[in-house]
């Protein structure tokens, strides 16, 4: 039966504002424990929160990119529970008047498109982190993360497979990166995802759902959901009942485990936060924010398709991340062709990045460098080998490619006069191959070209060499 798995996601995205949601402390990741704290985010008695409007704007951008409706009147509420990483013993969140509602995102998996509805997006503050001593006896709290702004995004139960859940998350990450409102790094915790999953009965009715937590990567989400779906199916097929509960994904064992049952669920006693006033998002503010909305992935894809003569696949790769797409467009200087720039990025630059596990932001080669290389390659000044090698070098250490080519004499030899002696030599040294070509074995010409390249340390223009070899043989 199709669509038998029903998944809804609750995603927490850390918004990378400079300061926290309710105080002026820095949100910088990796500072010394408790360095980024003040009486307000530490919840000292008598302190009061003051809303960071920038965080509201980041949330609005995120909501708009998910095609949500922004609510004109929003307010904050307190979610009450005790935990040492929550200094006020309540989290300032949004309960019944969230920032945005009713959005949708199109996802594509194996060529099939589907729409995932967005229930709501609301703002809330993050909690701190417990640090346990290695001996195990003591626990410490690092409040640096306390009150860092989060956007909680809740999908409708529209997701029908673990794979689709992963695709949705990647698409969400891509959008947030495009907006530059979040890094969405699951390993660092700037994106966190909980999932609700149930399996439909053979009659098509919704089954009892479980909540799955503690997934630390996109792959982990897919695997955890696949495991949980199988587990529920097994329970049901053996005549059992799925228990409504929260389960934790155990990455090392690759299973989910029971964490707490419905009976143990918290009563958060939400009520309106009396220390903050309701916020009005008028149309002026909303249109100001809308104007900051950058070109989103779909739009960029469409434009690239229209403007540059590239394959679908290349367009997809280039627009996958905004910095990469920007790098590509910045490299389109002079009369260099988009296709050769695209080829260098996809074939060479991406390979170098992948080898080092780097992003485009980590490389030392500039778009101008890449443009210069593409131009030299297009004009047959350098060979493709030299071009690849130079990209690898510049990714690592940077530099001016034109100067390097000049200095190390890396220009390829395409002058017939210069190549003639070498061609003669190769023909004389390889009579068998020459014979093969004459008797119609064309592939032998590749061998001879290889010999020419070897003798010229890769600097010969292979096209020119081929032409001359064909003439001579």
């Amino acid at each position: 039966m199709k669509n038998e798995i029903v998944i809804g996601l609750e995603v927490h995205v850390q918004l990378k504002t400079k300061s926290k949601l309710f105080c002026g402390c820095s949100t910088e990741f990796g500072a010394d424990p408790n360095a980024n704290t003040c009486p307000v985010c530490m919840g000292w008695p008598g302190t009061l929160p003051v809303l960071n409007r920038r965080a509201v704007e980041f949330g609005m951008l995120a909501a708009l990119s998910l095609n949500c409706e922004i609510n004109q009147d929003i307010k904050f509420d307190r979610k009450n529970y005790f935990y040492p990483d929550l200094p006020k013993a309540y989290q300032i969140s949004q309960y019944d008047m969230p920032l945005a509602e009713e959005g949708q995102v199109e996802v594509e998996l194996d060529g099939e498109k589907a729409v995932v509805g967005i229930e709501r997006l609301h703002l809330e503050e993050d909690a701190g982190k417990l640090v346990h001593s290695t001996a195990g006896a003591e626990s410490y709290v690092d409040y640096n993360r306390t009150s860092v702004p989060l956007a909680e995004i809740v999908t409708k139960p529209d997701i029908t497979s673990p794979e689709q859940a992963e695709v949705f998350l990647r698409s969400l990450k891509q959008r947030m990166e495009y907006l530059e409102v979040s890094d969405c790094n699951m390993e660092e915790g700037s994106l966190r995802c909980d999932a609700n999953l149930s399996v439909r009965t053979p009659e098509g009715e919704l089954g009892t759902k479980t909540e799955v937590k503690n997934m630390n990567s996109f792959k982990g989400v897919r695997k955890a959901l696949a495991y949980e779906a199988q587990r529920q199916k097994k329970v049901l097929s053996s005549g059992g009942e799925v228990v409504q509960e929260t389960r934790l994904w155990d990455e090392s064992e690759q299973i989910t485990r029971e964490m707490r049952s419905k009976e143990e669920a918290h009563d958060y006693r939400y009520f309106p936060e009396p220390d903050l006033v309701p916020v009005k998002i008028d149309s002026k503010w909303q249109s100001e924010v809308k104007q900051c909305l950058p070109e989103m992935p779909e739009e960029k894809y469409e434009r690239f398709q229209a403007e540059y003569d590239l394959s679908d696949e290349a367009t997809q790769t280039l627009t996958a991340s905004r910095p990469l797409a920007d790098f590509f467009e910045r490299a389109l200087t002079g009369d260099v062709s988009p296709r050769s720039v695209s080829n260098l990025i996809i074939a060479d630059l991406k390979r170098e990045m992948n080898e080092r596990d780097w992003t485009i932001n980590d490389v030392n080669i500039t778009p101008e460098n890449l443009a210069a290389l593409a131009r030299m390659f297009e004009e047959d000044v350098i060979s493709s080998n030299v071009c690849s090698e130079l990209i690898a070098e510049l990714v690592e250490s940077g530099g001016d490619p034109e100067a390097i080519v000049e200095e190390r004499d890396l220009k390829q030899i395409s002058d017939a006069g210069e190549l003639e002696a070498i061609i003669d030599e190769v023909i004389n040294e390889n009579p068998d191959a020459v014979e093969d070509i004459r008797s119609g074995a064309d592939q032998a010409i590749g061998f001879l070209i290889g010999q020419v390249m070897q003798k010229t340390q890769g600097q010969a223009d292979p096209g020119q060499a081929r032409k001359m070899l064909q003439e001579r043989v």
Binding site: M42, G43, P45, G46, R78, N80, P84, D267
Partner: protein, 486 residues
């Protein structure tokens, strides 16, 4: 006698300081002397810094540029944070707690030159109407030490009544400035919600709390209010409205004034003598040309229930942070994390605070929220509307501040509902966010002060000071310190 200096108003003290008739050192010495003579008995202070205050008095320059309070000793309620000074809310759970920052209102009086001599006692976390629930002992009424001074700002009111300081700051959530001021024969003012920043006031109920002055005269209340008022970027609920010079502008004009008399505030439960005295105050205003009209505040009866639902709900959340993790004492023995919380809070909070935390937790619980908190919010809206309607017929409302004069120590502490009824005439104004002033107008047959309350529309501070000043002039009560024996 030198200590009588402290019976002077802030304005008189300031003039004498500037004319070098007295020195700040003499003034602080007088304060210390009264503290030493009286406070063993009345226990109005949780902490008193004699040495440091004297040091400050020696250093202070009393020239006018240094502020209207330069060299004048004042007291703070023990829930107002001052960096480096123990601020305990009268609770064991904050024993020894020294805030790392100073409340905006406290900063304002420090910048006005005041010498803060110490922290005044209070009901634990401002929850009470008698100052009998403090972890640091009960406070006695300077007019009759067998009686309560009222609460929760009972320490502030008693310290001013005893003349240990000429003025103090308190906080008012349901009457916590006005009721003790009334019981102690001093002036108390609760500003419009948002007029004074709450930043640094340790919260009881955030949507109701407001800092205000307790003084011996109306002019002093106007002066202190002027100093502590204003918009504060650190408090989102503070009002962005200009602050008039209340003190300098006092202009008691009873002509064209319409005073509303709500029947609900003179009804059942209000002591006959109190009613007579307050009605006399109304007549005094009438004799000066004011018109008296009957107004109806029909939601008064529901107000106290709504108040106790909303205040305890907010308190249950506000007080959740006192868990022994970051500050305050932590239980010595516990089994696990949850037990650490339980033991710390069981040991740290007193009975009344626990009762209110439980009440508040209950009314917010899933399944009960609508029936209690939701309904209380609706009542709150009706109360606001009630006042709005009343103010279409009158400029201000005159009522008794409390149903009775100060009651005997121990007489109500075991009966929470009886105790809660003390707030019946004051809490509605907190729910509506309105300003209200109390001043003593006469003594009852036991010689105890009886007070009138004036309630005005939002931001009508100036009018309240004007008319309260007039009433102060008209009424038989003369501003003075209680006749304590040295």
């Amino acid at each position: 006698m030198e200590t009588e200096l402290l019976d002077l108003s802030l304005n008189e003290l300031q003039n004498k300081l500037q004319n070098s008739e007295i020195s700040p050192v003499e003034l602080v010495e007088a304060s210390i002397s009264r503290y030493q003579n009286f406070d063993k008995e009345i226990n109005s202070f949780v902490s008193f810094n004699s040495k440091e205050s004297l040091q400050k008095a020696r250093e202070v320059d009393v020239s006018r540029e240094n502020g209207p309070l330069a060299g004048i000793p004042l007291a703070l309620k023990d829930n107002l944070c001052r960096a480096g000074y123990a601020t305990t809310c009268g609770s064991n759970i904050l024993e020894g707690h020294r805030p790392p920052y100073t409340a905006t209102a406290v900063k304002a009086i420090e910048e006005a030159g005041a010498i803060i001599v110490g922290n005044a006692n209070m009901d634990e976390f401002a929850m009470g109407s008698s100052t009998e629930t403090s972890a640091y002992g009960l406070t006695r009424n300077p007019w009759d030490t067998e009686r309560v001074p009222g609460g929760s700002s009972g320490g502030s009111a008693a310290a001013v009544a005893a003349g240990i300081v000429p003025a103090a700051l308190g906080s008012d959530t349901g009457g916590s400035i006005r009721q003790p001021a009334a019981f102690s024969g001093v002036v108390g003012f609760k500003p419009t919600y948002g007029r004074v920043s709450r930043y640094g006031l340790i919260a009881f109920a955030s949507s109701l709390d407001q800092i205000g002055p307790i003084t011996r005269t109306v002019e002093d209340a106007a002066l202190l209010t002027e100093i502590i008022s204003g918009h504060d970027p650190a408090d989102s609920t503070s009002l962005d409205q200009p602050v008039p010079e209340y003190h300098g502008n006092i202009n008691p004009k009873p002509e064209n004034l319409t005073v509303g008399i709500p029947a609900e505030y003179f009804g059942e439960g209000v002591d006959e003598e109190v009613e007579t005295i307050v009605r006399q105050a109304a007549s005094d205003l009438k004799a000066e040309g004011a018109e008296l009209v009957d107004v109806s505040l029909s939601t008064t009866e529901q107000a106290i229930s709504a108040y106790y639902v909303i205040a305890t709900a907010e308190a249950s959340s506000n007080l959740a942070r006192f868990d022994g993790v970051r500050y305050g004492p932590r239980a010595q023995e516990f089994e696990d994390m949850i037990d650490m919380y339980s033991q710390t809070r069981a040991e740290g909070f007193g009975a009344e605070v626990k009762r209110r935390i439980m009440l508040g937790t209950f009314v917010l619980s899933s399944g009960y929220y609508e029936a209690y908190y939701g309904k209380a919010q609706k009542v709150r809206t009706l109360i606001k509307r009630d006042f709005e309607n009343a103010f279409e017929k009158c400029d201000l409302i005159l009522t008794p501040t409390t149903p009775t004069a100060a009651f005997k120590l121990g007489s109500r502490v075991d009966d929470p509902v009886q105790m809660y009824m003390n707030d019946v005439l004051t809490a509605p104004t907190n729910l509506a966010g309105l300003p209200a002033i109390t001043l003593p107008v006469d003594a009852n047959s036991d010689g105890l002060p009886v007070a009138a309350q004036l309630i005005g529309p939002s931001l009508s501070e100036q009018m309240l000071f004007d008319i309260a000043y007039l009433l102060q002039e008209l009424s038989p009560w003369e501003p003075c310190s209680a006749p304590l024996k040295e």
